[in-house]
């Protein structure tokens, strides 16, 4: 059980999180949706215990916590295999065993054998993201915090990993707190969808639903329906940012462009 109650966060004078309550139990997958810069990453970092809230309580009853950070956070001097095995090494597992496990997971995530020895600088963006995912799942965690974990993956991998994730939740009873910008992904995965307002973040919607992994069409319909709800649309697709309102702003941009062109 992870409980965040009355959570507030400030950086100096700026209020980032303005009072959030959130509770997740085992076997539950909660997706967080919210506009860019609203405080989702900050909330996850507080939940993980690597950031202190300005106010509020964090109670974490889970023992094995893993996190897929928004950036991969791989050791630049270690290869993919050793990076994926980091959590296992931290848990005290022997070298041969942890490497075997890390390899199996990486291969499962679409790595070829030749890529296991590559260092982060030799991996593509999506490959780095997969190493970070492998590192988290190698631990068979009971709480997984995931910050836009599939953002750099192709459709095939993304669907595959979504299924894998649901299996972990349903099979192993893991709890997952999942941040994404992809509303369809949210609908496919979530037992519950929590929508945040723009900064300072507070909860504008909390929707309990059945995950729609099975049907792509149903997921599309559900996500469209979600975005039609006024409070959610206001947070995620505010009218000010609709294509119709662009004309004036575009002028400003092309003006800027002209000025710079004149100088060249």
């Amino acid at each position: 059980m992870l409980s965040l109650s009355g959570l507030r966060l400030r950086f100096g004078a700026a209020e980032i999180i303005a009072g959030i309550d959130l509770h997740i139990g085992a076997g539950e997958l909660v997706v967080l949706l919210g506009p860019s810069g609203c405080g989702k990453t900050s909330l996850l970092r507080i939940a993980a215990g690597v950031e202190r809230a300005t106010a509020g309580r964090v109670e974490n009853g889970f023992r094995r916590v893993a996190m897929v950070f928004q950036d991969p956070r791989l050791l630049p001097w270690a290869d993919a295999r050793d990076n994926a095995a980091f959590g296992l090494k931290a848990a005290g597992m022997g070298k041969a065993e942890r490497r075997t496990i890390a390899e199996a997971i990486l291969l499962r995530l679409g790595f070829s054998a030749g890529d296991l020895d590559k260092r982060p600088s030799q991996l593509s963006g999506g490959m780095m993201q997969r190493v970070a995912i492998a590192r988290a799942f190698a631990l068979s965690p009971d709480l997984v915090l995931m910050d836009e974990p599939f953002s750099a993956l192709d459709v095939g991998l993304r669907h595959d990993l979504q299924a894998l994730l649901r299996a972990e939740v349903e099979g192993a009873g893991a709890a997952v707190l999942f941040v994404t910008h992809d509303v369809t992904e949210a609908v496919r995965l979530a037992d519950r969808i929590v929508v945040f307002s723009p900064r300072p973040a507070c909860v504008v919607a909390d929707v309990t639903q059945a995950p729609m992994l099975a049907s792509v069409g149903a997921a599309y319909e559900a996500s469209a329906a979600l975005l039609r709800r006024a409070e959610i649309a206001a947070a995620l697709a505010p009218p000010g940012a609709s294509p119709l309102a662009l004309a004036g702003a575009r002028e400003r941009l092309s003006l800027a462009g002209k000025a710079s062109a004149a100088r060249r």
Binding site: M67, F69, R73, L75, F86, A90, S121
Partner: protein, 265 residues
């Protein structure tokens, strides 16, 4: 656009360029010798003869060994202290803030201040030289390590904290590799200084080693022999640098094109 065949490994190529650099230095020396005459700077030939003489007579070996021992032992002892305090200082602000001016002061203090103390504590048999080297190497490593700790990637530290990596693993897997960039130049600097300081301390404290040889050669007014000792010491230094530090540098270079610690998400 085929990449042209590269017959030489980077390490070999860089060694060849290094030789070229040393040759240029020798050229400058020879030029100086010709311009200023043998009592300011002996010629390469004279010095070379003196080197051969020293090596043949069997004096060079033990002296170089003694100096090597003083330099390496002092460098290792002092470097270890500086490194550990630097790491501690990076973890706990007061340790770093307290040690910083102390190490600056130690680095800036002419050895005159403690030569007698060192001689008392460690005796004239090279112990004083080792101590003087240690007290020079410690601040170099400390200052560099402290900066390295301050520049380290908080993102990775956070990751390690989340995965509850034990302190020792954090040290070996995160801190040490990240510090490599700072330790490599600091170690190179400290090693070179160690040789110089060891030789000078030997001269002052009447120990054996290259410094003893230099003191004798100087009181013989034998400039070629003085320079021969120095050349021998430098040769050992460059060898030590190549043997001890080049592997570190190669390993660091082996990480491939340096990239930001957590790039391309």
């Amino acid at each position: 656009m085929a990449v042209p065949a590269r017959p030489l490994s980077p390490a070999l190529l860089s060694a060849i360029w290094g030789m070229a650099g040393l040759l240029a230095l020798a050229g400058a020396w020879q030029w100086g010798a010709m311009v200023f005459g043998p009592f300011v700077l002996p010629s390469l030939a004279e010095t070379g003869e003196a080197v051969v003489r020293l090596v043949d007579s069997g004096k060079a070996g033990p002296a170089l060994l003694a100096t090597l021992v003083h330099a390496l032992a002092g460098c290792a002892a002092g470097g270890a202290v500086g490194f550990l305090l630097g790491v501690a200082g990076g973890l706990a602000m007061p340790v770093g803030a307290m040690s910083y001016p102390v190490f600056t002061a130690l680095l800036g203090t002419p050895p005159i201040a403690w030569v007698v103390l060192a001689l008392l504590w460690f005796g004239p048999g090279g112990g004083a030289a080792t101590f003087t080297v240690a007290i020079t190497a410690a601040p170099i490593l400390f200052i560099a390590t402290l900066q390295g700790m301050r520049s380290r990637d908080r993102g990775l530290a956070e990751m390690a904290q989340l995965y509850r990596a034990p302190a020792f693993m954090r040290f070996t897997d995160l801190v040490l590799p990240a510090l490599a960039d700072f330790l490599i130049p600091a170690l190179a600097t400290a090693l070179a200084f160690s040789f110089k300081v060891a030789v000078m301390a030997e001269v002052l404290s009447g120990a054996d080693g290259v410094g003893g040889g230099i003191a004798t050669a100087r009181s013989h007014f034998d400039l070629p022999e003085t320079m021969a000792w120095i050349v021998l010491a430098i040769a050992v230094l460059i060898l030590a640098d190549a043997l001890l530090l080049a592997p570190l540098r190669r390993r660091r270079a082996g990480r491939g094109a340096p990239v930001p610690l957590s790039a391309e998400a």
